[in-house]
Amino acid sequence: MLKVLLARAQQKYRTVGFPKEPPVLPDRLRGRPQVDSAKCPPNCSVCADVCPTEAISIKDKSLRLDLGRCLFCPECERACPEGAIRFTPEHRLAASKRDALVLGEKEFQLAKALDEKSRKIFGRSLKLRQVSAGGCNGCEADVNVLNTVVFDLGRFGIQFVASPRHADGLLITGPVTQNMELALRKTYEAVPSPKLIIAVGACAISGGPYIGHAEQKNGADGVVPVDIYIPGCPPHPITILDGLLRLLGRIE
């Protein structure tokens, strides 16, 4: 018993200050990219050529970068000779609409909070069922980590529960494989209405590296309606937490 107490003292208090304080993130983190078409040389498409998921397109000499497809790999940034695409440490990535994830055309719109009525229902107690539908265990791991003392999800009234019937919504990872489609639909139907659906990671938003494969459905929103998209491969846990809190209107 004494050893247990000594260990407790040694391990200290380790919960992060976020969201009251700014998050501490790795300096090399590839967060929200900045796209500057003005720097593009004429007829250059090296960034689009190296992108593994066709997240980058060039329309009327202007760059578009789809965060829903982006794997946040370093390829485009390294390929661009002019610095027209640059990853910033910006961790806030969640959006309410699929097309809001396309950078380059208009200013990035962060996810909006639920309306007053929904916030009354979910704002102080949100129970989620997680469904991995072809996820590689990267997104799953960084969702799971929110339950540790570091992020302490419980302090926001958010909890992952074992049964969809106990849940207010689903958090979906993975491109939704053909072999998980039925299970996802059944889980969705088992959640009582009204319900929230959260898509986490490039796979759940667009299919990610598996876009176009016959074995999957190019993300969750072709199968169930999605309320919030949290991009990344996988998103940093702070990005996921930011998205959840933003949805509940608990951070501005």
Binding site: K3, V4, A7, R8, Q10, Q11, R14, P26, R28, L29, R30, V50, C51, P52, T53, L71, F72, C73, P74, E75, R78, R129, Q130, V131, S132, A133, G134, G135, C136, N137, G138, E140, A141, D142, V143, N144, V145, N147, T148, V149, V150, A162, P164, G174, P175, T177, Q178, N179, M180, A183, G208, P209, Y210, H213, A214, E215, Q216, C233, P234, P237
Partner: protein, 525 residues
């Protein structure tokens, strides 16, 4: 093709496809059985279309004592006599071959799909349709009420091993589980709490990776490798990089080799620490569960310190790595690793000092050495059953050729053994990283890499945190992948979990399952 002696390789050696003997099936079978009898394992066994109506089978046999890989092949048409009755290690591979290529291993004792997908022929690889459909084949001609000619493939819809008797009951779990984990289906045959048998049915995570790798490498190949099993990003991507570097005769700078090994050990540290925390959680011992959950993240953050991503995505590329360690970063890595070592030691030693923890771990979910050997289990699970097998020692590549990590093993094969082996490996990985950082070679971290040699084969092994990762690449006449075969350690080890549950209480399943902590997507591909 010559039908001469088998091709012997070291890890990362290549061989001309024409030199790999195409033996008669009888010789192929004999060579495999002989090798197994001499202590070798099947590291890979897979098919590849040859001409319009034949499949060429390749076997990768690993002889741990010699550190030697043997590559042999044979050609078959639509059926062949199953190897499984004489060699249990082949059972899952043969089910995979039957599902992928529509060939029938005659006499296989439990021939069922493992992933529930269309055969690669049917999914348009330009090879004629096949005669044998595993999805419409039921062992012992039983269909259990299923439409024998069902046209759609439904995962998990198949006949399961079942028992009859007073108060015998069946428990079905999954694919959606209670926790935040990947999907799979478990079918238990029980009498009260007592489990007679567990059958595991997977495939829910199948994303079509191997099919899509043909014709590569291309710009999606790296993302595939990094997400084959997302918790093993470094392990799989390293196996891939070493495979293509061998095919392109590319020499990786020493500094990159060391930093790759550091990343591989950090991945092991994060996962082993997380597993010990989850094992503590599953028996309700919350101090270690809580601390290890956090310390796992500390290790992931060290990988992010190097490359910006907690799982190491974007770090490894053929030819080397994309992110170097500057002096300040190295100093920070050392300081934070020192702190993490102190924290993890304090957290994990609580387990061994607590008699209630030991009582729950010891004797739970035992796998005997004989069973582990017979099934060809790998990694932590094999070492916990007393098998001294570790790719880093027996098939070293990169910096492991010069810097050895002692093999960590234990004799009892129980949950305790699998936990304790992880703890020994945690200590040795940390010591290894400090050693490597002390003698970090200077120089570049990436070399130019050219085209892949045509018509060659390469076998690339790495010791991922779960165990042996085996990638086998075959190139075509243009130096593109004609086949890229991936064997995740989970592919070998899922059957080990089923065996560990025999005679156990069903309430111990979460504990036993966590002590294996196998990959669903790494299996399903």
């Amino acid at each position: 093709m010559k039908s001469g002696a088998p091709v012997f390789l070291r890890n990362g050696d290549t061989a001309a496809l024409a030199e790999i003997p195409a033996a008669s099936f009888a010789d192929f079978r004999e060579q495999i059985l002989q090798a197994i009898e001499n202590g070798a394992r099947i590291a890979g066994l897979f098919g590849q279309p040859a001409g319009t109506d034949r499949v060429r089978l390749f076997a990768v046999l690993a002889n741990d004592a010699e550190g030697q890989l043997t590559l042999i092949s044979t050609e078959i048409t639509d059926s062949y006599p199953s190897l499984t009755p004489a060699c249990a290690q082949a059972h899952w591979f043969e089910r995979e071959i039957a599902e992928q290529w529509g060939v029938r291993p005659e006499g296989h004792p439990w021939l069922k799909p493992i992933r529930f997908h269309k055969s690669f022929h049917a999914s348009g690889t330009g090879v004629p349709p096949v005669s044998f459909d595993i999805h419409n084949f039921a062992p012992e001609s039983e269909t259990h009420g299923r439409d024998a000619r069902a046209t759609t493939i439904a995962p998990g819809v198949t006949n399961f091993f079942s028992m009859d008797g007073d108060e015998i009951h069946e428990v079905a779990v999954g694919p959606v589980h209670a926790g935040i984990i990947e999907p799979g289906h478990f079918r238990f045959q029980c009498h009260g709490e007592h489990v007679f048998h567990l059958e595991i049915s997977l495939g829910y995570q199948h994303r079509g990776v191997e099919r899509a790798l043909v014709g590569g490498p291309d710009k999606r190949t790296i993302p595939f490798m990094e997400t084959l099993a997302g918790d093993t990003t470094i392990g799989h991507t390293l196996a891939y990089c070493e495979a293509v570097e061998a095919l392109a005769s590319c020499r990786v700078p020493a500094r990159a080799q060391v930093l790759r090994a550091i990343a591989l050990e950090l991945e092991r540290l994060a996962n082993h620490t997380g597993d010990l925390g989850m094992l503590a959680n599953d028996i309700g011992y919350l101090p270690t569960a809580s601390y290890c959950g956090r310390i796992r993240g500390d290790f992931l953050n060290l990988t992010a310190l190097i490359c910006g991503n907690r799982f190491g995505r974007g770090l490894l590329r053929p030819g080397g790595i994309l992110f170097d360690l500057d002096d300040a970063r190295q100093k920070q890595l050392e300081e934070r690793l020192t702190q993490a070592r102190e924290d993890v030691t304090g957290a994990v030693e609580l387990l061994w000092n607590s008699s209630s923890v030991r009582a729950r771990f010891e004797n739970a979910g035992p796998v005997t050495r004989e069973t582990a050997q017979e099934l060809g289990l790998v990694g932590v699970v094999a070492r916990a059953s007393g098998i001294e097998h570790d790719v880093r020692i027996q098939f070293p590549s990169g910096i492991y050729r010069f810097a050895q990590i002692p093999v960590s093993s234990y004799h009892s094969g129980s949950v305790f053994a699998r936990a304790f082996v992880r703890w020994m490996e945690i200590q040795r990985s940390i010591a290894f990283i400090f050693d490597q950082l002390n003698a970090l070679p200077a120089g570049p971290v990436r070399a130019e890499i050219g085209a892949l040699a045509p018509n060659r084969a390469v076998v690339s092994l790495t010791e991922g945190w779960r165990g042996e990762i085996c990638h086998t690449a075959l190139t075509d006449t243009a130096g593109k992948f004609a086949r890229y075969k991936i064997v995740d350690p989970s592919f070998h080890n899922w059957m080990g979990l089923a065996m560990a549950m025999r005679g156990q209480q069903i309430s111990d399943f979460p504990l036993c399952n966590k002590s294996f902590n196998l990959s669903y997507c790494g299996h399903d591909l």
